[in-house]
Amino acid sequence: MVSGFLLSENGLYPAESAPGEPLIAVQSVRRAVSESANTTVRVDGVSKQYDLGGTVTALDDVSLDLSAGSYTAVMGPSGSGKSTLLNLIGGLDTPSSGRVVVNGQDVSSASEAERADIRGTEVGFVFQTFNLMPRLSAVENVALPLVFDGWDRTRRRERAVSLLSEVGLADRTDHVPAELSGGQRQRVAIARALSTDPALILADEPTGNVDTDTGAQILDLFDDLHAAGNTFLLVTHERHVAERAERIVHVEDGHIQSVEDVSGGEH
C-alpha cells in the first residue's frame, strides 16, 4: 500500500489518493480479456445506493470477475460494502447501476422470479448463522433448494443423503438443527449450498459462529470442495480465513482497494 501505486480492477491509482479517479482506466482492456475467459461471475461497474433518510452509497462503481473454479476471499471492515457485494452476486439484491452476470445470466435485469431461480440453482449460500430451517431435519434442509427446483421427493432425498455423507454427516440425516453442534450445522448448510450443483458458492463469515478448530475443519472442507472444482467467494474479516483463498479482494468504503494474490503477495 505504500509502494506508490495501487492497481484495482478499475485501473491504476496513486496509493495516497485512493479512492478516487484512476490514473489509467483499464476497464475496456479488462473487459476484452475477461469476455474470452471462463468467467463464472462478472461484476461490471456496479453501484448500490440505499435510501435510509438520505442516500447511503454501499458500493461505488465496483467491477470484479470470478473465473470458474476460483477461490476468492473478500475482506474489509464492517460497513465496507462486502456484504452488499455478496448479496448482489447472490441475487438477493439488485444493483442501482451496473451489471452482475452469474453463469451467463444477468442478475441485474432479471425479474424477481428469475432471481429466485438463480439463487436456487446457480448460487449456494453459506451463512455465518447457518440459517437452517429449525423444524426441518438435516436431510430436509439439504433438500430444500431441490424442492423449489422441482425435484421429486425420492430423488431429493437420495441427493441430500449423499451430500450429507460427503460432508461427514451420514449418521445425522434425521436430526433437526437444534440437535446438532455448530460445526455440524454449518456442514449441513454447506451440503445444502451444494445441493443444486451451483456455479458458485457464497460464504458469508462461515467460521464466525464456530470455535477455531471447527472453523479450521470447515475451511478444510472448503479446500476439498474447491479442489473438486467448485467456485468459492468467501466474505470474512479474519486474515487467516481469507488466506485460505487464492486471492483476497480488499473492500473499503464501497470500493475495491486492492486485489491480493495470496501466493504472490499484494499487487
Binding site: 438477493l92 439463487r119 436456487g120 440459517n131 423444524r135 433448494p145 423449489f148 421427493r153
Partner: protein, 411 residues
Amino acid sequence: MDTGESVRITLRSIRAHKLRSALTVVGVVIGIASVITFATFGASVEAEIVGDIETSNAGNIYVFGTPSGDDDFDRTLQPVFTEYDVQQLEGIQGVQAVLPRGIVQTQSIQHGNRTLARQQVTATRPASITDGVLVEGRSFEADEEAVVVNERMAGSFSQNLTTGERLTITMPDGSERNVTVVGVVNGTRGEVPVSEFARQPRVYVPIDPFYDSVVESPSAGVRQRAYPQVTLVVDPRAIPETQSAIQAYISGDADARSLSADDTELVARSGNDFVEEISDVIERITRFVTGIAVIALVVGAIGIANVMLVSVTERTREIGIMKAVGARNRDVMQVFLVEAALLGTIGSLLGVPLGLVVGYGATRYAEVAFSLAPLWMALAVGVGVLVGVVAGLYPAWRAARVDPIDALRHE
C-alpha cells in the same frame, strides 16, 4: 413447489404451535358447527312439517276466503260457502269428495266432574274421519248425536276420554246436548295444513244437527247452511286442472262470491301450495338464523388471519432462508396459504360432526325427526377451506413480499 412439501412444512409449523393452532381451529369449529346446527335443524323441521302435509293432504284443495288487507283476519271465517256451492263443487270433474267445515260455538263441554268452558267444536261430514286418522272407535254418522275427539281433547279430562263415554255440550242458548264419544282421532281428513301447528284440543260433530249457520243462497233463493271453509278431495292425477276449475267456479258464479265483501279474495289452494308456502317460510327463517351463525364463522376467519400474521412475523427468518435457497414469492405464499387452508379444513372437518351432533340434539328436544342437509354440509366444508384461504391471503402476501436480506438479518 409441490403441495406435499408445503403441507409437510405446514404440519411441522402447526405441531410447533399446538395450543395456538388448536385455539384457532376451535374458532372455525364453532363457526362451522353453528352453521351446520341451524341448517340441519331447519331442514329437519321443514322435512317434518312438509312430510306431514304431503302424506295426509296430497290430493286436497282448500277453499276459503282471504281478505286482501291482512288487518281483517275475522273475515276469513265468514260462512259464505252455501250448500248450493257445495253441490256445485261436487259436480266439478275430478272432485271425489267435498268436506265442508264449520265452527259451532259452545258455552262449555263437560265430562264427569270436569267442565271446559268456552269451547268451539268443528262441524263436518262423516267422511272427514277416515280410518287413516282414527286411533280408536269409528266416525259418527250424519245426523247422529255423537262426537269424535282428538287425542289432545281426550287427554284434557281427569280420566282419559275413550269411546263409549258421554259428554255434555252446553250450547250458547243454554240448551244441553248429551253426546257419545264414538271415536278418537289424531287429526282429520281435509284439515287445513296450518292448523297442524296448533294441536289444540278439538271436538268434531256431525253438521246435522249441530251446525246451524244459515244464509239465504242467492242462487237457490232459500236459506241454507253456509260454511267458512270447504275442503275438496280431488283426483291426485288431475290436481292442476281440477284446482283451476274450482277456482273458476268460486271466483265466478258461486254464492260465496256474492256473499263475500268485494275485497275478500276466494282462493282454492292445493296441499302443494301450502307445502311450498310453509317450506318458503321455514327456509327463510333457517337462512336468517344460519346467516347469524355465519358471523361466528367470520370470527373464526379473523382468528386464522390473526394467527397467520403472527406466524409470518415469527417466521420471517425462515422466509428469508427459503428465498435464499430459491423459493419464489409464490412458493412462500403457497406455504402460508396451505397453512391457513389447513387450519380452515381441520376446523370444518371437526365442525361438521359437532354441528350434526348438536343439531341432532336440537331435533330430539323439539321432537322432530332428524334429517340431514347434505348441501349445507358440503357448503360448510367448502366455506371452511375458503375461509382459511381468504383469511390467509393477506398474511401470505405479506410473507411473499418479505425482503430476503432483511429477513436473514431478522432475529
